[in-house]
């Protein structure tokens, strides 16, 4: 029944000292889907990401990725399964160029000696160039990350996640602090990279979610309040009451 679904959360609850951060949350993300998750502060968005990436263990419920049970795996194992997470604050390596940042993220042997003997193969170069094109950073490939704009740093970080070839990408508030133009570019970027992989975006900015133009899940008090197109959820009276009405 859930065959084919990439990410599958069913009846997930997380209780911290009596506080229900997640309350019977269910969510299915299909392969190649781009899903936006919105909700007021404390709705459980970050806790949901934490549960998926293994940072937090659910008190009850099922979390599956393909046919793997994520509740039994630790963070590193989940990351190697192909779930990449982009945190709010971009952390790229300032002293290195954009190209070198991506090169470090590329799947390759990670030991010191392997790194010492590493030579950039044509295949690796093509992979890096593909991500440079995908993120629109190709003109800046040889610039140090320190001189990138805020938006470009975010895209570089997304690019570094792409280098690890994830099946599912979790993106936490990508457009916070971005200019309108950068926000648009980010929406286009996320639309572009979804399809090859599933993407879940947590965001406050409704304009951005509208620009994504895909299915939206509204969280409230740890559960799903509403789900559907942006127009559908914006007209849902319950959503208007708890979220948009404020």
């Amino acid at each position: 029944m859930r065959a084919g679904s990439t990410l599958y959360l069913d009846g997930v609850s997380v209780v911290f000292d009596g506080f229900r951060a997640l309350n019977n949350l269910s969510l299915v993300v299909e392969p190649g889907e781009l899903r936006a998750v919105i909700g007021p502060n404390g709705a459980g968005k970050t806790t949901m990401m934490d549960v998926i990436t293994g940072k937090t263990r659910p008190t009850a419920g099922d979390v599956r990725f393909g046919d793997r049970d994520l509740t039994r795996l630790d963070e590193a194992a989940i990351a190697t399964l192909g779930i990449g997470r982009k945190f709010q604050k971009p952390t790229v390596f300032d002293a290195l160029t954009v190209f070198e940042n991506l090169e470090l993220a590329l799947k390759a042997p990670r030991g010191p000696v392997a790194c010492l003997r590493w030579a950039l193969s044509g295949e690796a170069r093509r992979r890096i160039e593909a991500v440079l094109d995908e993120t629109g950073l190709a003109p800046r490939a040889q610039d140090r990350a320190a001189i990138l704009s805020h938006g470009q740093r975010q895209w570089l970080e997304i690019g570094m996640l792409l280098m690890q070839d994830p099946e599912l990408l979790l993106v936490d508030e990508p457009v916070a602090g971005m200019t309108d133009q950068e926000t648009e570019h980010t929406a286009a970027l996320l639309r572009r990279i979804a399809g090859g992989r599933s993407v879940v975006v947590v965001e406050h900015d409704l304009e951005f979610v509208r620009a994504l133009g895909r299915r939206v899940t509204v969280l409230h008090e740890g559960g799903v309040l509403s789900e559907g197109s942006i127009d559908h959820v914006q007209n849902d009276p319950r959503v208007v009451e708890v979220y948009l009405g404020r």
């Binding site: 390596f93 470090l104 010492l116 040889q142 704009s149």
Partner: protein, 368 residues
């Protein structure tokens, strides 16, 4: 934003040009250095004659430059600030010193066939087990590299595994060299106590304190410096070098990318300690003495100041710092010996405040 899009290309070309110039200057400096022992052989009244003092002092600086490279590799690139590299240097020196002591043989004051003078004096009956093998030069040289490497591996493993970084790591390494100094001061350690080793006779069949020995040690040091530079350049220019820089700037992020940063740091720290040991092994036959004073915490800090002054994070900077600060020290300690420590401290403060990228930063300013 659009302004930054246009400017980087020429800026990078500028640094590349500056780097090329520096490389040629460096090559010229090496050739000039290589000439010193030759000029030393000219008759003393020749205008180009170079004194024995200049040759031996420069030979000593070359070993300091190797130590500076070692510190820069760990600190400038990987962000591991060791304030105990003098210990690795001293251990390398002691290993070669043990070989030199064994070579004295019956020519010591007491004329004992195997035991060095200090052991006879202290009533040793036979050579302690850890002195065995040091009569062979290759073994002693191996130990000069392996002992610092093993010590670094132990200290590094325990510290990096527990994620001890920054100033805490610096304090641990400082304590390490201090503890070793106290240990080596003890007579019953079997390393000559506070007198250490001296009165060496020869090395590899060449009598020390002769022009031939000076030239040979000078060239050996220069070759070791070039080798060390090549190794460091190789590491820094590889992907490992970029991982090191990434570890220096955001270690947890590197870990998050799937790199075992403990292993990466251990690798570079051990390599750095081995290079420091090599430097010490070349230093001792040139100065003719090694004693526990070489372990003193001040020595390690002074070596860190060389790198800071030259410019950490660039290999050229480490070389520049080692030569310039030591030139200053040699000059100042002959004109106004009491001022040296103030000058050293002042230099460190001034560089930290005004030249965060060291002398190299000043030289490269037009390009960056």
């Amino acid at each position: 934003m659009s302004a930054t899009v246009a400017s980087p290309a020429p800026a990078r070309a500028g640094t590349a040009a500056a780097r090329n110039v520096l490389r040629w200057v460096l090559l010229g400096a090496v050739l000039l250095l290589a000439l010193l022992p030759v000029l030393n052989r000219l008759p003393a009244d020749s205008a180009l004659h170079v004194s024995d003092f200049v040759v031996s002092v420069t030979g000593k600086w070359i070993t300091y430059a190797i130590l500076a490279l070692a510190i820069d590799l760990a600190w400038g690139y990987a962000g591991i600030l060791s304030l105990g590299h003098g210990a690795f240097f001293a251990l390398g020196g002691y290993a070669i010193g043990m070989h030199l002591m064994r070579l004295i043989g019956p020519r010591g004051v007491y004329g004992h066939s195997t035991l060095p003078d200090f052991m006879v004096f202290l009533g040793y009956r036979e050579l302690p087990w850890y002195w065995l093998g040091f009569e062979h030069f290759p073994f002693a040289l191996l130990m000069a590299l392996a002992v610092p490497g093993l010590l670094a591996a132990m200290v590094g493993f325990l510290a990096f595994r527990s994620r001890i970084t920054g100033v805490y790591f610096s304090i641990i390494t400082q304590a390490m060299t201090y503890a070793l100094m106290l240990a080596f001061f003890r007579n019953d350690m079997g390393f000559g106590g506070n007198n250490g080793f001296t009165d060496f006779k020869e090395l590899l069949g060449i009598p020390l304190n002769t022009p031939n020995a000076r030239a040979a040690l000078f060239y050996a040091s220069l070759a070791a410096l070039l080798g060390a530079y090549w190794i460091c350049a190789r590491v820094v220019g590889s992907k490992l070098g970029r991982v090191l820089v990434a570890v220096r700037d955001a270690e947890s992020r590197v870990r998050f990318l799937g790199y075992d940063t403990t292993r990466v740091k251990l690798f570079v720290f051990v390599l750095s300690a081995v290079l420091a040991g090599l430097a010490g092994a070349l230093y001792v036959p040139q100065v003719g003495i090694i004693n526990p004073g070489e372990f003193s915490p001040g020595n390690s800090i002074e070596a860190v100041v060389w790198v800071a002054v030259g410019g950490r994070g660039t290999l050229v900077g480490a070389l520049l710092g080692a030569f310039s600060v030591n030139a200053l020290k040699t000059w100042l300690t002959s004109v106004a010996p009491d001022l040296w420590l103030f000058a050293l401290g002042g230099l460190f403060v001034a560089v930290t405040l005004f030249l965060p990228r060291g002398l190299v930063g000043v030289l490269r300013r037009p390009g960056t």
